[in-house]
Amino acid sequence: MNKRRPNPKQVPDPNEPLWRSTLRVAMPLNLSYIPIGLACGILLHAAGFNTLLTGLVSLLIFSGGAQFLIATMLTINPPLLSIVLMLFFLELRYALLSSSLSPYLKGSSNRFLFMFAVSLNDENYAINYLKFATDKKWTGREALMVEHYSLLFWAASNVVGSLIGSALKIDLSIVNFALTALFLYMIVMQIKNRLTIVICLISGVLAAVCMMLTKSTLGLVISTIIASLIGFGLEATLRKKLPDSHWLWRLRSPGSKKEAVEHSDAN
């Protein structure tokens, strides 16, 4: 995402107003939200959401994965509780994201943390985490502004998508692949070592088996819990018994530290 920033080495203008400097940081993300937000809005419209509710769900839930999931699940008319449970497990990953940002937000008021949590999202997390780690002047205030910019672009593209969906007839099986592509992208960004790839394979097989057995999306929840526990157990065992195991080697992937990779390339 940072690659497309025009000139990262640019000397910051000390007089640049805060809203503009944070907007500059958020812009690559804002632009990439447009096509995904449009696809999501089209699918939500097809699932029966009106434009007002599409705007509301984008503002309140603000999660591409969750909104795509709502759109797909509504087409098979499942019980409300089953969708909400799926959403809970889908959103559980934010526990990890928000706990990893917490060291940078020490001393903030609960009101600020509330605002921050409401508009936290995978992508603005990635930007803010990088900024907190590399920029000493980056504070919670700037981070919250980045979150709000991305929220604005996301909600607006969803609403426009919903309007497009009501005006045109679109092949949904193709638009639906946007979700699959989004998840594939997020998997690739999560892969840090060979063990992660093993866990992916285990989770894939478990998911298929569990869904065939339960005949419902509850199988997804069960397989996620089992696969993550297997990963947790395997990693702890490998660390203890074989600390040099090549399964724990870092891969040259987006998930491993970007700077370190670039340095080793230069050498």
């Binding site: 990890l96 706990s99 592509a181 894939g204 987006p254």
Partner: protein, 115 residues
Amino acid sequence: MNAVNTWNSTQHFWLIILGFIVAFIPRFFPLMLFTKRAIPEWFNEWMKFVPVSLFTALVVKDIFIDSASYALLLNKYSEMLAAVVVIIVAYRTRSMAISVIVGLIGVFILSMFMA
């Protein structure tokens, strides 16, 4: 994607409210708790594997599982091929937007030849 949904707007509204609550809990409480005290190591180590496991499971559901009968499907060749393309593009570009757009174009072109 052709079954017609029978929910009305009130039901959608309650779904959004409940969805907001379950989206808010995991975002807020760790933040509130861990800005005040240290994060337990085991929690982090476990949570590290949740996203990967869940995303993989969701991709498997989209590509290999029939959404109505939950039977194994192994004939969505255009989706399978497009998925491989998306993985390569995501790995190379690290861009979410490019990955999604390439995936959409890919599945569109492939489904014309393979459907």
